[in-house]
Every structure is written in C-alpha cells, then in structure tokens.
C-alpha cells in the first residue's frame, strides 16, 4: 500500500494515464480497417474516483491505468467497431485533460522552485 495525498503524485498518475490513452487511440485509428478489431480504451478516471477517500488521499497502486475493450460501439460488417469521429473526439478530450494536468504540475513545480530560491 502506498497511500499518498501528494498532488504531484496524483498528477503524475494522471499524465501517465493520458499518455497511455493517447497510445490506445492511436492504435484504434491505425486499426480503423482491420477486420475483427475491437477498440481499446484506458480506464483511469473511474479508478481515481473509487480510490479517492474523504481526505483526498489515494492509493497509488489502485490508480494504475488499465487497458480494456469497452465493446459498446456498434460493430461494422467486418467485425470492427472503430469510428474515426469518435476517436478524434476522445483524442481532443484527452489532449485537453493532458494539458490541464501538465499545467497544474508545472504550477506545483514553480511553487517548489520559488521556495528553493528564497534567500
């Protein structure tokens, strides 16, 4: 068990999850025409939601992003269920989330730097 309420740790986990999701989306788009391919997605936000307690502390082992196949989108005639528009939308959302996390992390580091530079 590695409990943490350190914001840097949680943000890092988030950035890792977004990077993995970006890979999953790229994989989905690459397999747009592959017969029988089912799209993959990354589960992270649900895990974070579940793992967060009232004090805001999180068990880092419980929020490791996992790849899964949602199997929810309609399947095309070749057994493939990737939809280009949907993947683009997911990518836009993922990029925005990633941007938010990186900026928050950047702000955190800047505060640390300010503390270090106090003379």
């Amino acid at each position: 068990m590695s409990q943490t309420s350190n914001i840097v740790d949680i943000l890092e986990a988030g950035i890792k999850a977004e990077s993995l999701r970006q890979k999953a989306i790229a994989n989905n788009i690459a397999n747009l025409q592959t017969p029988g391919y089912r799209r993959i997605d990354v589960k992270f936000e649900e895990l974070l939601d579940k793992a967060m307690d009232s004090r805001g502390a999180v068990d880092l082992d419980e929020i490791k992003p996992v790849i899964h196949q949602p199997k929810q989108t309609p399947v095309k005639s070749n057994g493939n269920d990737v939809n280009l528009e949907y993947e683009v939308g997911e990518m836009v959302k993922n990029t925005l989330r990633h941007k938010a996390y990186v900026r928050l992390l950047n702000g955190k580091y800047r505060k640390m730097e300010a503390a270090i530079n106090v003379k």
Binding site: D49, Y86, K93, L104
Partner: protein, 133 residues
C-alpha cells in the same frame, strides 16, 4: 463524486459528426443505386432516408433509423430491357440525383458545422487552461 465532466459539448459535436457521416453514407448509396433496377428482391432500388433522433436532454443526436422512401417508382418505356414487363416498361428507382446532391451538400455542411463547434469549444477550454499558467 463525478471526476470527469465538462466535455459534454465535445461529445455532442462528435455525435453530430457521426450522424452526418452516416447520412452521407446513405446518400452515396442512393446515388450509386440511382439506376439499379434490381434490388435482389424482385424490384428496383428504393431511395433510403436517414432519420435522426435527438438524445434525451442535451445529449446530442443519433441516427435512429434508415427508412425506405415509399414514394412512387417512376416507370419508363424500355422494350427489350431484361427487367421490362409485358408492356415494355421498367420500374426505376425513385432516386432523384439533383435532390441527392443538395442533400449531400447539406449533410457535408452540417458535418462542417459540428466540426466548427468542436474546434471552438476546444479553443474555449484552452483559454480556460491559460489561467493555470
């Protein structure tokens, strides 16, 4: 606690793009089959129409059904045609190419409009994220 919310407009714009893209698929089927006098079931091709349905509350749009256009099928005199009846008439699909072209333009424009909404919302969120700098 809801962790991830606030990307609703993106999902809605994407639902519009998906619906319009499917509609363009239906239109291309109509255009491709504009002269198809045999649909494999003993009749000519019937024009298809994509029917959209609004999701509950503000949840975007889905393609509800692809229904056949039951308007009258035009009959033209073409004696000697393998599909001609005793009087020499063949029944043609009820596809009107000019109408399909207009529908294609409308669908493509609607797709673009959804993309414009998506892009604008993306820029809005980015300006919000600028506050974190």
């Amino acid at each position: 606690m809801e962790v991830n919310n606030g990307f609703g407009p993106i999902d809605i714009a994407i639902s519009g793009m998906r619906a319009q893209s499917k509609k363009i698929g239906v239109i291309s089927s109509n255009v491709a089959n504009a002269q198809a006098t045999d649909n494999g079931k003993g009749g000519p091709y019937r024009r298809l129409e994509a029917l959209f349905k609004a999701d509950d509350d503000i949840g975007g749009v889905t393609l509800d059904e692809i229904a056949a256009d039951m308007s009258e099928l035009p009959r033209i005199l073409r004696p000697g045609h393998p599909h001609a009846d005793e009087q020499g008439y063949i029944t043609m699909p009820n596809v009107d190419l000019p109408i399909e072209m207009i529908n294609l333009t409308v669908a493509a424009r609607a797709y673009q409009a959804n993309v414009a909404v998506l892009k604008r919302y993306q820029r809005m969120v980015e300006t919000t994220l600028e506050l974190l700098r």
